[in-house]
């Protein structure tokens, strides 16, 4: 009650939080556990309650300079120290430095008789003494429910526990109380009634023989928190929670391009290749050359001096190196140069979460710019489809945050494009290449499409995809009246086309010659007509001249007559012969 009142009085005071130092947990709780209040961590046996609380105390002491008290009701201080030593925590050292205090509370039922009224003041005093002796800010009670096994007076116990949690709040320590869940309830003895500020439920489920640990924040009073179930795992670095999806989508988007390693494919992607930091899915049926595409990409990245991490889930690195040598790639050189690193493991080796963490860890260590996962399909054998999807979402998120370009290959079991879900990640990836078989005329050829490529111009055409000794190449497929032609059908069609051209040329030549000949004939005709015309013209001229001469002669004769009549002598004899010569 008093808490509520103060809360109302101080309106804008935000709940203070204590970071746990556990990777991922601080993110989903928005900063850590409620400061100065008890938090209940419940879960079945072996789900990691003790580890979580130990890590909370140890990280607090070692990293946040907040000393802690660990009150263990189950294990002795030595056992506890041994258990967490494998995780790299040195409890002895912390104890010597007065930053940690472990108090083992032992309840031996066969040693204890109960007669009459009592209270748990002894426990309070012990805890108080431990807290004050090192100035502790953090307290863990693991597992306080053991009291119920050791003491029989439930009424007293309940009253005392209620008093204890109150007392912890007043003391102002951030506490974790662990409890076993059971009987369909969060805790066997209903501790959630007393601890109401923050309740975290841990869970350990086995689906298809693969176990996954999960964590859920059941409630967190006065704070926003992730409500999902978050997988977490325990490895040699302790506990890490992996938020299923990072809570924001604030990734950097680079416009830098990164070549694919196949010139013609670059050409299909606007001439430059993929965006840096994008995710690429290459899917296709068996034997379509997915690994070859991925290897080209890796090879190109190394040639450009980028670091590349290649996760092989199907073949051993040696096998890949040998196979890729056959199409002209020298991976050995890049490995020696430290640019390329292979990591091969069988997907069934461990659960999905462990794979994810291994991938995370290797990426953090190697710091690659390009990551290849070949193929992701095999991971399906380890988990349920939805789990695989969520794992891949988290992986893509992580890689994009780091600005790493990733290429996945996936085996598609059917060839109908629309039916392919490809582990459901096709909507997450930025670029999706599909390699498929085109079967015709008794042979199988490979066709490559770009189904999508966000944010860039890309070809919508199917290209034939050929694997040569010098690597991969893409050839335009022939689109004829019979449909798409590939392979030898395409070659045949090209030959047919070449012969067609030759024939056509020959025909054109023949026509040309024909026309030449006709021209000559016509020209000859024109000539003869012209000469005919000339002779007709001459004839006409002759008639004109004769007319003229006749006119002249008759005129002369008339003049002569006139002269003769006047008695003059004419020149008649000269005119006569002239007339004769003109005829």
């Amino acid at each position: 009650m008093s808490k509520k009142e103060t809360k109302n009085n101080i309106q804008h005071r935000v709940l203070e939080k204590t970071p746990t130092g556990i990777s991922g947990l601080d993110e989903i709780t928005g900063g850590g556990l409620p400061k100065g209040r008890p938090t209940l961590v419940c879960g079945g046996a072996g789900c990691g309650k003790t580890l979580l609380s130990t890590e909370f105390i140890v990280k607090g002491a070692a990293e946040f300079n907040e000393p802690g008290v660990f009150m263990a009701f189950e294990e002795t201080a030595d056992e506890l120290a041994t258990n967490v030593a494998s995780l790299g925590f040195d409890l002895q050292k912390l104890q010597k430095e007065n930053r940690l205090r472990i108090d083992h509370v032992q309840i031996e039922r066969n040693q204890i008789e109960e007669t009459g009224a009592y209270d748990l003041e002894g426990l309070f005093i012990r805890l108080n003494y431990a807290i004050d002796s090192i100035g502790a800010k953090r307290v863990v009670l693991d597992t306080i429910e053991n009291l119920f096994a050791g003491l029989t007076n439930i009424a007293i116990l309940r009253a005392e526990l209620r008093r204890l949690f109150h007392w912890l709040k007043e003391k102002g320590v951030t506490a974790i109380i662990t409890a076993e869940s059971g009987d369909g309830k969060l805790t066997r003895h209903g501790l959630e009634e007393y601890v109401s500020d923050c309740v975290i439920l841990l869970d350990h489920r086995i689906i298809d023989q693969v176990s996954t640990r999960r964590m859920r924040i059941v409630k967190y009073r006065g704070s926003i928190h992730g409500t999902n179930e978050y997988p977490f795992l325990i490895d040699e670095n302790g506990l890490s929670v992996l938020p299923v999806t990072s809570l924001n989508l604030e990734k950097n988007a680079s416009s830098e391009r990164i070549p694919t390693g196949i010139k013609a494919l670059d050409g299909m992607l606007g001439g430059k290749g993929f965006y840096k930091g994008s995710s690429i899915l290459v899917s296709g049926t068996a034997g379509t050359g997915k690994t070859s595409i991925a290897a080209h990409f890796a090879n190109q990245a190394c040639n450009d001096g980028r670091r590349c991490l290649y996760f092989a889930f199907e073949e051993s690195p040696r096998q890949i190196i040998r196979n890729m040598k056959s199409i002209g790639m020298q991976f050995g050189r890049h490995i020696d140069g430290g640019l390329l690193k292979f990591y091969a493991s069988r997907p069934t080796l461990y659960g999905l979460e462990m794979h994810l963490v291994t991938i995370h860890k290797l990426i953090r260590e190697f710091k690659p710019e390009v990551v290849v996962l070949d193929p992701i399909t095999n991971l399906i054998t380890v988990g349920v489809l939805s789990d695989v999807k969520s794992m891949l979402i988290r992986l893509i998120d992580f890689l994009q945050n780091e600005g790493i370009t990733v290429m996945f290959t996936a085996l598609a079991l059917n060839t109908v494009v629309g039916d392919q879900t490809d582990e459901g990640i096709s909507s997450l990836v930025d670029t999706w290449l599909l390699v498929r078989d085109i079967e015709s005329n008794g042979e199988r050829n490979r066709g490559l499409y770009i189904i999508k490529s966000r944010g860039m111009k890309h070809s919508n055409q199917v290209r034939e995809f050929v694997i040569t000794d010098n690597g991969l190449d893409l050839v335009d497929v022939y689109l004829g009246p019979q449909g798409i032609l590939t392979g030898s059908a395409r070659e045949a069609q090209q030959i047919t086309e070449r012969t067609g051209v030759a024939l056509h040329d020959y025909e054109v030549d023949a026509k040309d010659r024909e026309i030449g000949r006709r021209r000559k004939v016509l020209e000859a005709k024109v000539l003869s007509l012209q000469s005919e015309f000339e002779s007709a013209e001459e004839e006409l001229n002759k008639i004109y001249l004769q007319e003229e001469l006749k006119k002249q002669v008759s005129e002369k004769a008339r003049q002569e007559m006139l002269r003769l009549r006047r008695g003059e002598r004419g020149e008649e004899p000269t005119v006569e012969p002239k007339k004769k010569s003109n005829e």
């Binding site: 007669t115 009459g116 003041e121 426990l123 012990r126």
Partner: protein, 94 residues
């Protein structure tokens, strides 16, 4: 019962509460009746010496611890049930 046996009893209390006073009175009464001259009672107030709580694994108060003879036995509560206390301390057989 062997009359030469020594009894060392420790009573842990937290301050002078009603329960601790009752417990101490009850204990003294039982010892006088059954262990006259053979016992020693040490009262430890955890309010004064909190560091001693861990050693005897004290949770509840009042707690009576039988240090000698071994094995260690513990009885918690105000010791109001006489028979239970005597049986618990193995003073009389069950």
């Amino acid at each position: 019962m062997n009359s030469t046996e020594r009894w060392e009893l420790r009573l842990y209390v937290a301050g002078k509460t009603e329960k601790s006073v009752t417990a101490l009175n009850n204990l003294k009464q039982y010892c006088e009746e059954h262990l006259k001259g053979q016992y020693k009672i040490e009262v430890i107030d955890l309010m004064v010496k909190p560091q001693l709580a861990e050693g005897d694994q004290i949770l509840a108060v009042p707690t009576l611890v039988r240090k000698v003879p071994e094995p260690i036995r513990k009885i918690i509560g105000d010791l109001s049930d006489k028979e239970k206390v005597l049986v618990g301390l193995n003073i009389i057989p069950a």
